[in-house]
């Protein structure tokens, strides 16, 4: 189950090569991720498609780099919709992103 939330192989490799810096990486991801999820809420409430697109894009990239594939995938859908100015399903997608993020956070806390 947790392998869908996060690819532990990637994280373990990173832990190995980053040594002491790994903790900083996890911390940075959790803090920045939380901020992006919050910013996303604000942007969706204000219906500002370019902001939604940019934030989703960033979160998509950083989560992919950490192996958080499910989170990255949901961000990709929202980024795509926002790029086409289609915000009809934005609230629904936001919930998915928020849940995925919480799951990644929990998984990171559990494993590292």
């Amino acid at each position: 189950m947790s392998s869908e939330i996060i690819d532990l192989d990637i994280l373990n490799e990173l832990k190995e090569i980053m040594e002491d810096d790994f903790d900083e990486l996890i911390e940075t991801f959790i803090d920045d991720g939380q901020k992006q999820v919050d910013d996303l809420r604000v942007a969706i409430d204000a219906s500002i498609a370019p902001d939604i697109r940019r934030i989703a894009h960033t979160l998509k990239g950083s989560s992919a780099n950490l192996g958080a594939n499910a989170l990255s995938e949901t961000c990709k859908v929202l980024e795509h919709d926002a790029a086409e100015d289609n915000l009809s399903d934005a609230n629904n997608q936001y919930e998915k992103i928020k849940n995925a993020y919480e799951a990644v956070k929990a998984s990171l806390a559990e494993n590292f």
Partner: protein, 507 residues
């Protein structure tokens, strides 16, 4: 090898940095485009990984600026992108990006791309360095050559032979030797006594003056010194000033203005001008001017050794003397009026590109020096040549020129006809019979055209009234020829004209 990572997302920077550190690269990072430019200048990285969407300055703009800043060096920039649309990718190439890397990063591809670009950049930069070294060597060789040429030019300019005339006073200091400078400040003056005009070209000679009556006229430098501009940038435009008999031209190098005394003071243009002005106001004979300037300067420097070239020339525009000199020179070269003739023939294709008039003028100078008045002769030759070409060969009718539109039409037709002309010739024969003071020059123009009805020319066409003259926009050429020549005659067919121009070397 130092790599700069540019990404606004801290997670991305950390992950990428971790991978690259493990591969042994030194890592620096920036969180937006502007920070990247600043860091690029401070840290001189060898390669840049660049995100696209960033606050402050995005990756496209930052790349453009960094590529400009790198100049001749090759600093590869790899775009980090999760974008896959072609427009975004082509924009990466447009701004100067060298490769892409898509997120999430695949370590093998990342390392492979960086290594490949590192090899390319090493090759390029080595090549560039060799090229610069080669350029440096070539430049040194070229400089040596230029110095050699400059020395020769300098030596021949300073050959005293041409400066020994009585109306020229000249002071050359020992420093007036070639000092290795390939840039030469120069002022060329020509005294044209037939037009009473001083023609001059001044390239950075700081003190050049014409003293005329009680007026002091500066011959301003409007050009750069010789040796700076290439042929294309060089302007041979002369400045003109009317001169009168006994005017004086004063020329001085900066060595006089900047002559130093032992206290480090300079003679300066103020003292220099004071010398000139005192000559003007005292109204002395002015022959003392030259000595006055040198004496003032020598008193000022008081024996202190000069390091710069101190050159002063005062030229007296004594018109009679100059004319006499010119005549003597002419005679000394044995330009005695003599018997000679020559004939030139230009066929249709030559006529498209060659103007025979300067050629004939030059030939006349070779044979007879400057004894034949060039200006009048040029006018005669030009008008005769235009008649042969326009009417004889091209068959243009000068009646066309009777209206403003026709006048313009005439010359545009001429251009077209000249281009398409594929037969015909103009033969020019010049013969001289010497007379007591000069000679009678017979000039014949013959063309291969149909000729014209010469009877129409029999009536004298000297315009009597202003109205007569203003009526015709044409026919003036013939009038000029008639007024300068002793005689003018045509053959019956009208394709051959013969003029006699009498010249004398007494004026």
């Amino acid at each position: 090898m130092k790599i700069l990572i540019v990404d606004d997302d801290a997670t991305n920077r950390l992950v990428l940095g971790a991978y690259l550190k493990q591969d042994g690269f030194e890592i620096i990072s920036a969180n937006d485009g502007q920070a990247a430019i600043d860091l690029f200048q401070d840290e001189q990285p060898d390669l840049i990984l660049m995100d696209i969407m960033m606050p402050v300055l995005d990756g496209y703009e930052a790349t453009k600026k960094i590529k400009v800043l790198s100049g001749e060096r090759f600093i590869p920039i790899i775009f980090l992108t999760s974008m896959t649309d072609e427009k975004a990718l082509s924009q990466c190439v447009e701004v100067g990006g060298d490769d892409f890397l898509t997120k999430p990063y695949n370590r093998t591809i990342l390392t492979a791309k960086i290594n490949a670009l590192e090899r390319v950049s090493d090759l390029y930069n080595t090549n560039q360095r060799q090229k610069q070294e080669q350029e440096l060597i070539t430049r040194r060789e070229l400089e040596a050559q230029e110095q050699e040429v400059a020395r020769k030019v300098f030596d021949s300019i300073l050959s005293p032979g041409s400066l020994s005339s009585d109306n020229i006073q000249l002071h050359l200091s020992p420093m007036s030797l070639f000092n290795g400078d390939v840039v030469l400040a120069a002022c060329l003056v020509e005294i044209d006594t037939s037009n009473n005009v001083l023609k001059y070209w001044n390239g950075a000679i700081p003190a050049a003056y014409l003293m005329q009556g009680d007026a002091l006229i500066e011959l301003k430098s409007t050009n750069l010194p010789l040796g700076i501009l290439g042929d294309a940038g060089f302007s041979n435009k002369l400045d003109l000033i009317e001169i009168r008999d006994k005017d004086k031209i004063v020329l001085s190098t900066d060595g006089i203005l900047e002559a130093e005394n032992s206290n480090g003071g300079m003679f300066g243009s103020e003292r220099f001008l004071k010398c000139l002005n005192s000559e003007l106001t005292l109204d002395v004979t002015r022959s003392a001017l030259f000595d006055h300037i040198l004496q003032s300067m020598n008193e000022f420097v008081d024996g202190y050794e000069q390091t710069d070239d101190v050159t002063l020339a005062v030229i007296n525009c004594d018109i009679d003397y100059i004319n006499q000199l010119a005549t003597e020179r002419g005679q000394s070269k044995k330009f005695i009026p003599s018997h000679w003739s020559f004939e030139l023939c230009f066929y249709y294709d030559a006529l498209k590109s060659i103007d025979p008039i300067p050629l004939i003028n030059q030939t006349l100078v070779e044979i007879q020096g400057y004894q034949i008045q060039q200006d009048k002769l040029s006018t005669i030759l030009t008008e005769l040549f235009c008649n042969s070409l326009d009417h004889g060969l091209l068959g243009l009718d000068s009646k066309m020129k009777s209206t403003p539109e026709g006048f313009m039409q005439f010359y545009s037709d001429k251009e077209l006809l000249l281009k398409s002309m594929d037969e015909g010739f103009i033969k020019i024969a010049v013969k001289n019979i010497p007379t007591k003071n000069g000679g009678d020059l017979t000039i014949v123009f013959e063309d291969s055209g149909k000729g014209f009805d010469t009877s129409k020319l029999e009536k004298p066409k000297m315009p009597v009234s202003a109205e007569d003259n203003a009526m015709n926009f044409s026919g003036r050429g013939l009038l000029l020829i008639k007024s300068y020549c002793q005689s003018i005659s045509y053959n019956e067919k009208g394709n051959r004209v013969e003029c006699v121009y009498s010249w004398s070397n007494s004026d």
